[in-house]
Symmetry: C2
Subunit: 298 residues, 2 copies
């Protein structure tokens, strides 16, 4: 068991944030091991990493579906490694060119551009290495399916594809539908993968429910991000605030306006919560995570 | 059967070069599919790709070990996608900064740096997607093991790690042992993975033999590359000649001298051939590929 249902959410979240940090610390090669700079930069980029929302979603789905904790650990760390790789590459000069990440210099600023490129590449490989360790699942076919979920979520019709659409959209006006497609890929695909990997051995009704939950909460997460980009300051955010608006990227706020964007986030949240009703107390952590994602802003 | 043992080598190689091209064409998303630019750039970078030595090694090992052709196709394409991703990233300005690849503008020159970055990222994901397709192997545990071989070969203790050591070695003098360690990682790891994936369901003596064969032939390949970098011109090479020597990178030629480097390559070749003796005609294509790798230069 990851935790008791009676533990309050912040204690549960903290327990699992510490847990994922320890798992990643084990999984990442030591800085003493050659090539030392690369390994040290991988650890710099993947450890001590923010709120770990994706890992928490994975653990929460695992709790709902009674997934073995060893499998949940591997899944959560593979997801966080994939997320960390994407942040390192997104920050690079040819992409978003961001000097700050989680309140620290971004990887290519702390090291150099070549190291940033290789760190991202190697973190992606490591995510697949973790998930393909021998005898992780009682049924190897389940493990193959988990690897396939991650590969699709990361690739050109997932996260990398969303990033490509995002870059191509700078300076363009997008419809709300196009913006949603972009975010479904750019952030939604990995959030959905986090929940699906956590629930990877669940029954079909559970999988259908968590997929729909993840779709709604993934979008809500992005809408909230866009709102935060306008409303929060750089210190609170740990990354450069107003970046998206300043770089002329379409956001939910630019398309819908601030009030309508907030209303949209609330609707997505309500839909996500509604989907979980049949699962009662088992879905408690997923429900609380939906609250947590909303409370980041308003 | 991939081919008859009686087909001559160049016909066999051509048959399998056409085969891998068709497999990759199927595996890569269509350029009509969104995001179109990303998919078109992925196809630009991964199709029409050189001699396909890694795919040929994979097919040759599959032939020796009687691996199912569907599995060999998936393995060979996963290896070629991984290789293509590494070339796209290696050519980028923050790495080797090379404008030319296989006689065409390199990906970031044909498109832009951001697209080059995302193409490499998405090609890596696609390699794992191909290998994790449902029901590829009769035993899913074999498939998990293949995925783990690829992930390790690509990661920080494989190809990406070798690249990091290579970058760190610019302007330094390396011992022959350090240079071999770097090449074992940078090019050797993926060549070894190509052979091991092709032989993935083989007997232990066969796996031990092809691993040792791959280690020798991987190094020979690199020594020949270093010799070619000095002796060939840019047109023959399809990439900028003299690049490594000019950029002050240690090579076998700078460390051993030209004649000694050639002798070293011949010794590695002889060792590789020797390992295959017990396997007779079954190992014919692996033997011929060793010849082929040597004949690129002298």
């Amino acid at each position: 068991m990851i935790s008791s249902h009676k533990m309050d959410f912040s204690a549960w979240a903290q327990t699992n944030q510490i847990r994922i940090e320890q798992v990643l610390d084990q999984v990442l090669p030591s800085s003493d091991l050659a090539p030392q700079v690369l390994h040290s930069a991988m650890r710099y980029s993947a450890l001590d990493g923010g709120k770990r929302v994706r890992a928490l979603l994975c653990y929460a789905a695992a709790e709902m579906c009674e997934t073995d904790i060893t499998i949940a650990d591997a899944a959560a760390s593979a997801i966080e490694l994939t997320h960390a790789y994407s942040l390192v590459h997104d920050d690079m000069p040819c992409m978003d060119d961001d000097d700050l990440r989680r309140g620290k210099p971004s990887c290519h600023k702390q090291y150099d551009d070549a190291t940033g490129l290789l760190v991202g590449d190697a973190l992606q490989s490591l995510a697949f290495e973790v998930l393909s360790q021998a005898n992780l699942c009682p049924q190897a076919s389940q493990q193959v399916s988990m690897l396939n979920i991650l590969a699709k979520a990361a690739g050109s019709r997932g996260m990398a594809g969303g990033q490509a659409i995002d870059l191509a959209s700078v300076g363009k006006s997008l419809s709300q539908i196009d913006l949603e497609t972009m975010h479904h890929l750019k952030t939604g695909a990995l959030i959905q993968a986090a929940v699906l990997l956590g629930a990877s051995n669940a029954s079909q009704p559970e999988i259908t429910a968590v997929r729909a939950y993840a779709k709604n909460i993934g979008l809500a997460f992005q809408v909230v991000d866009d709102i935060l980009d306008v409303e929060a300051d750089t210190t609170t955010l740990g990354k450069t605030a107003g970046k998206d608006a300043n770089s002329n990227k379409p956001t939910y706020v630019t398309i819908l306006g601030l009030e309508q964007a907030k209303r949209h986030a609330r609707q997505l949240y309500a839909d996500a919560i509604n989907i979980l009703v049949p699962f009662g107390v088992k879905a408690q952590r997923l429900r609380e995570l939906a609250d947590f994602i909303m409370q980041r802003s308003f």
